[in-house]
C-alpha cells in the first residue's frame, strides 16, 4: 500500500485508448470506448473479487452439502459443477459472467455494424486484386462451428451480412480486449509474441521458410511469427471469410507483408502438397473443434510438415489429476455456459496420445509453457498476475512435436 496513492496501487486493465489501431480498426466513440472499459473492469472484478467468494462457497457449503447427501466426496469435475449450480454464489457469478459476455458482444457488434459498409469499403481498397487473399465461397462450415456460436459471438467467424463484409472480423478484433482485460496487449497479439519468443529461445537454430497457422482468424497470433521471421512466408488458414478479409487488410496496414490468408478447413488442407511447411502453429484453437476434426487436423499437420519441421499447439492447461476439482469445474464453465462445447472434452484428452496417433514419435514430442508478451509500460503482464480467471488468463501450455 503506497500512502493512499490510487495510481501507485492500481491493478487492472489499462484504458482502452492504449489499444493499437490500424486502417481496418473500427472508429470508436467516447461512449463506445467507455462501454469496453466498463466491461473489462467487470471481468476483472468478477475474477479478482467475486471468484474468491465462489471458491469459499464451494469449500464451506457445496462440498459439505454434497458429502452429507451422498456419503462420499465429489468424484469428478462434472459432479463439482452440478453441485455448484445449486449454490447462490456460483449462480450469481455465472449470471454476471454470462451477461458481461453478452454485453461485450452487443457493444462490439454495434460499433462494427454501424460502420460495416465503410469498413467493407476499406477492406476492398486494401485487398482487391491481392492474391494473398484466397476465399472459397463453396466451403461448408462444419458442425463444430455452426451448431452454437463460439463465446456467444453471433454469426461466429464466418457469417457475412453482405458481399465483402468484415463485420465479424472487426467485432472480434476490436472488443476482444474485454475478455482478457488487456492481457493480450496492444494488438491482441501477446500470444503470438510469446510463441515467437519461445521458439527463438528453445530452437535458436530454427530458420523456418514456410509457416502455417490453422484457425488464425484475423492474424492476432500469426503476425508476430511473420514479424519474428521476416524471411519466411506465413500462411493463415481459417473457415471464415470475414476474418480473413479483415486479416489481410489489417496485416498490410500494419506493414506485415509476408503473409497470405486462405479460406479452408484445417481438416482438409489438400490445397497444400505434402511437406509444405517448416512450422505449423495453432493458438487457442484446439478447444473450438471436435474429437474427429482434432484428429484429422493433427493428421494434416503431420502430412504437411517438412522433415526437421515443428508443430506447436498453444492451449490452456489440460485437466490433470493434480488439478483441484474446483478449478476443473470452473474451467469447464466456458464449455457449458459460454458456447465452447468442445472445451471440456478437449482438456481431458491425452494430447500426447493424439499426437502419436497422428503419426508423431513419442520421443519427438515438445512440451512447454508461455505467458503473453506485452508492452509492459501500458499493459499488465500475465506472468506477474496471481489472479486466476479459469480459462481466460493469458498463460498457456505448449504441446508440439518435431519430425
Amino acid at each position: 500500500m503506497s500512502r493512499n496513492d490510487p495510481a501507485a496501487d492500481y491493478d487492472g486493465p489499462p484504458d482502452y485508448r492504449v489499444i493499437g489501431r490500424h486502417a481496418l480498426f473500427p472508429q470508436t466513440s467516447h461512449d463506445e470506448i467507455e462501454r469496453i472499459n466498463f466491461l473489462a473492469q467487470m471481468n476483472r472484478h468478477l475474477a479478482a473479487n467475486v471468484v474468491p467468494g465462489v471458491k469459499q462457497a464451494y469449500e464451506k457449503r457445496v462440498v459439505p452439502a454434497f458429502e452429507a447427501a451422498e456419503g462420499r466426496p465429489i468424484a469428478n469435475r462434472h459432479e463439482a459443477r452440478e453441485a455448484l449450480l445449486a449454490d447462490p454464489a456460483f449462480q450469481t457469478w455465472s449470471a454476471m459472467r454470462r451477461m458481461t459476455m453478452e454485453q461485450r458482444q452487443q457493444a462490439g457488434r454495434w460499433t462494427a455494424l454501424r460502420q460495416s459498409e465503410q469498413l467493407a469499403e476499406k477492406a476492398r481498397e486494401l485487398t482487391e486484386g491481392d492474391d494473398r487473399l484466397k476465399l472459397d465461397p463453396a466451403l461448408q462450415q462444419p458442425r463444430y462451428v455452426s451448431a452454437v456460436d463460439h463465446h456467444c459471438m453471433p454469426g461466429s467467424y464466418h457469417t457475412e451480412y453482405f458481399p465483402g463484409d468484415v463485420t465479424n472480423g472487426a467485432n472480434y478484433d476490436h472488443a476482444g480486449f474485454v475478455t482478457t482485460s488487456g492481457l493480450l496487449g496492444k494488438y491482441s497479439d501477446g500470444g503470438g509474441h510469446a510463441v515467437a519468443r519461445w521458439v527463438k529461445r528453445n530452437l535458436p537454430d530454427f530458420q523456418p521458410r514456410q509457416i502455417l497457422e490453422i484457425g488464425g482468424t484475423v492474424g492476432h497470433s500469426s503476425l508476430p511469427l511473420a514479424q519474428a521471421f521476416p524471411e519466411a512466408e506465413m500462411t493463415i488458414v481459417d473457415l471464415g471469410a470475414p476474418v480473413l478479409r479483415y486479416g489481410l487488410g489489417r496485416a498490410k496496414s500494419l506493414g506485415v507483408d509476408n503473409v497470405r490468408f486462405v479460406q479452408a478447413s484445417g481438416e482438409d488442407l489438400s490445397i497444400f502438397p505434402d511437406a509444405s511447411f517448416d512450422w505449423i502453429q495453432t493458438t487457442m484453437f484446439l478447444h473450438e473443434l471436435s474429437t474427429g476434426s482434432l484428429r484429422r487436423i493433427m493428421a494434416e499437420t503431420r502430412r504437411l510438415l517438412k522433415p526437421g519441421g515443428i508443430v506447436l499447439h498453444v492451449e490452456q492447461p489440460q485437466y490433470a489429476p493434480e488439478m483441484p476439482l474446483f478449478e476443473q469445474a470452473m474451467r469447464d464453465w466456458d464449455a457449458y455456459y459460454n458456447n465452447e462445447p468442445f472445451w471440456s472434452r478437449m482438456h481431458e484428452m491425452d494430447l500426447d496420445a493424439e499426437m502419436i496417433a497422428a503419426g508423431f514419435e513419442r520421443d519427438q514430442l515438445i512440451h512447454g509453457g508461455v505467458t503473453a508478451v506485452v508492452d509492459r509500460d501500458l499493459f499488465p503482464d500475465a506472468a506477474d498476475d496471481d489472479k486466476e480467471d479459469y480459462g481466460r488468463k493469458a498463460a498457456w501450455h505448449v504441446i508440439g512435436a518435431t519430425v
Binding site: 466498463f38 467487470m42 457488434r109 455494424l113 451448431a147 456460436d149 457449458y336 458456447n339
Partner: protein, 119 residues
Amino acid sequence: MSIADALRGAGAKPAGKRPYFLDAEVERVLAITMSIAQELAVSRQRTDTLERLLLEKGVLSQGEIDAFVPDRAAATERALWNQEYIARILRIVQQENEAVGRPDDIASEDVAVEVGAES
C-alpha cells in the same frame, strides 16, 4: 445498413440456447440492471471527460466542482430533481403500496366480463 438493422444486429442472440442460473425473472431483471450499470458508467466517464477538458481549457479550476455550493434556488431545483427522479424509478413501490389501501380493487379483466355481460 440502417440504424435499426444495426441495433437489432448488435443485440442478436448467438446460436445456442441460453443457460439461466437464477430464476428467469430475477436473471432478466439483473441483466437489464447490469446494462444500466454499464450505461451509468459510460455517463459518469463522459462527465469526467467534460470536466477534464474544461479544466484544461481553463473554464474550470481544480477543485471547483468539489467546492461547488449551489445557491438557494439552484439547491432547491437540484433537490426537486432528485425527488422527481426517485419517484419515477420507484413508481411500482408507490403503486403496490396504494393497492394495500384498496382491498376492493378489481381487475380490468374482471370488469370486462362484468361490463360485457348481456344483462
